[in-house]
């Protein structure tokens, strides 16, 4: 696996961006960090919209870097199809068929419309299609979903999943929504005040408890799993992963999926109670415990090779007398499936 080098230095008033790192040349790298930490600035540097780094000489239009902005930035004077063709015509090697890309993003029916009447989610999908059709060597996405409300966000997310699954293109995906990042990225880069504070594979980096940036309601873990069988009677798919088997509503056929389990969805039990409606109860070992707030604790669990976080009240922890090293049962109430 080759790598992409990011080396950028830029001063803007009192803010300094100073990045020197590498990211994998395939898959999605999530860039995460709080507002004002320099995420957008970093992307602008990579695209050549700001002068920084060694490559300052290469003009923007020769970089073959696709940029999906927070707002779709469609060209109002062109039809949807013309918008998508815009980049294609300008990049000699761009051989993607507009129809194929449109199909990937579910916008075939819109191709001959004007950009006027598009809903936010449709417009953002068109802007992604436009970038794909320019055959970039790298795609930058700057919070492409944050201007969309939840429903329209859910319109777009599956297409990003599909894009990830069907293309080997490296994507740098900026977001401050850790859920989105967990769902989409393979690799994680955490920025703070213009500097890289953490960088690595998604699962390892997510489980680091020394990063205050990762706290909050959305913390949790992801598990790579493979479908085992499908129970048609109850519409449940059983997945196997290193820690056992887990059942999820719906049917999934892809060879491998990523399951996201937020810390809020995991409760712990001393016994494997089969008297409750909780579907997934798995043996686990407590690897680490850390006080989060006055009321809650984050518990890092080992399930085979995989790791999950559970958020429990300190009161419950005390009541059950939980200790690092204890073998307990993780009760998983709900799971989000990706891919």
């Amino acid at each position: 696996m080759s790598a992409i080098t990011l080396r950028h230095f830029l001063r803007k008033a009192s803010f300094v961006l100073d990045v020197d790192t590498t990211i994998p040349a395939t898959g999605i790298t999530g860039v995460f960090g709080e507002s004002g930490c320099g995420k957008t600035t970093l992307l602008r540097c990579i695209a050549g919209l700001e002068r920084s780094g060694d490559d300052a000489r290469v003009p923007v239009h020769k970089r073959r870097v696709g940029y999906v902005f927070q707002q779709p930035q469609l060209f109002a004077h062109l039809s949807v199809r013309r918008n998508i063709e815009y980049g294609q015509r300008r990049n000699p090697g761009a051989t993607q068929s507009v129809e194929d890309v449109a199909q990937l993003l579910g916008i075939e029916a819109l191709l001959d419309r004007s950009t006027d009447g598009l809903s936010g989610g449709e417009a953002q999908r068109v802007s992604i299609a436009r970038v794909l059709c320019q055959s970039p060597q790298l795609i930058l996405m700057d919070e492409p979903l944050s201007a969309l409300d939840e429903r329209r966000r859910n319109d777009v997310l599956p297409y990003l999943d599909r894009l990830h699954a069907e293309s080997r293109l490296p994507i740098i995906y900026v977001s401050h929504n850790i859920g989105e990042i967990c769902r989409l990225s393979d690799h994680l880069l955490i920025l703070d005040n213009g500097r890289v504070v953490a960088e690595g594979g998604l699962q390892e980096t997510l489980m680091r408890t020394d990063l205050p940036q990762l706290g909050g309601r959305n913390s949790g873990g992801v598990i790579e799993a493979t479908p085992l069988d499908y129970d048609g009677e109850f519409d449940l798919t059983r997945f196997s992963f290193s820690g056992g088997a887990i059942r999820v509503p719906g049917r999934y056929d892809s060879p491998t999926v990523r399951l996201r389990v937020t810390a809020n969805d995991v409760s712990l039990s001393r016994v494997a109670a089969d008297s409750s409606t909780i579907l997934n109860i798995l043996p686990a070992v407590i690897e680490e415990m850390r006080a989060e707030t006055d009321a809650t604790e984050l518990v890092k669990l080992a399930l085979g090779e995989d790791r999950l976080l559970a958020r429990i009240t300190r009161q419950s922890s005390r009541r059950l007398g939980l200790q690092v090293g204890d073998s307990i049962f993780a009760q998983i109430k709900s799971v989000t499936v990706r891919r």
């Binding site: 695209a47 707002q71 004077h77």
Partner: protein, 220 residues
């Protein structure tokens, strides 16, 4: 009635607006994009031609474009022909005179383009020039319409400059405004009224058509 001067005027106004759009758009673009300290200076200079009375501006252009003038001499050398008292000379003079009316609306339109849209074009592989033509220009249509209307109408009604630089030569430089002027001067009021009416009717139809198309376009 002699329609010669009217056609000549229409031709002059058409060519002038065309030249002004072609030359004015890049200048207006520069004015809208640059952060140079010189920007307001250049902007003020561009407005200067309309500050001088047309006859006086015409007088200076006559000197400049004449066979002894800086530009005129060069042109004579190049083409063997004099610039003054020719259609080409009229076009140049009209362009100078109407420049601000083309620049201002274009600059305003360019300034209200979102910067991100242009940047999007760049990242999609458009060079600066390409992005200008393929994105900035079509998105500034309203400014172009204004620029064309103002410079077209202004050239139709132009008179002092044209009289001075053109010399009222029938078929070559006698535009309709001069013809009307002549009628008024020679107290031929009836002919003046008639020609004025025709000119106004022509201009009205041209501008009305333009506004109508523009409206359709905008509301689409």
């Amino acid at each position: 009635m002699d329609f010669g001067p009217l056609w000549l005027s229409a031709r002059l106004a058409f060519v002038t607006s065309l030249v002004l759009i072609v030359l004015g758009a890049p200048l207006a673009w520069w004015l809208s994009q640059t952060r140079s300290r010189w920007q307001p200076v250049v902007q003020a200079i561009v407005a200067m031609p309309i500050v001088l009375p047309p006859t006086v501006l015409g007088f200076y252009l006559l000197i400049l474009l004449g066979p002894k003038g800086a530009i005129g001499a060069w042109w004579v050398e190049l083409s063997g022909d004099a610039l003054t008292f020719s259609f080409t000379g009229l076009v140049i003079a009209s362009c100078v005179y109407s420049l601000p009316f083309a620049i201002q609306p274009l600059q305003n339109a360019f300034e209200s383009l979102p910067r991100k849209t242009i940047e999007a074009a760049w990242t999609l592989g458009a060079s600066r020039l390409d992005a200008f033509f393929s994105v900035a220009v079509p998105l500034s249509l309203r400014g172009f319409v204004s620029a064309i209307v103002l410079s077209f109408a202004h050239t139709l009604g132009e008179f002092g400059v044209v009289l001075m630089v053109g010399g009222n030569i029938p078929g070559e430089t006698r535009v309709v405004s001069i013809a009307i002027y002549d009628h008024v001067e020679t107290l031929n009021y009836a002919a003046a009224h008639q020609l004025s009416l025709v000119l106004i009717a022509f201009a009205f139809v041209a501008l009305f058509g333009m506004f109508l198309i523009n409206r359709r376009w905008q509301s689409k």
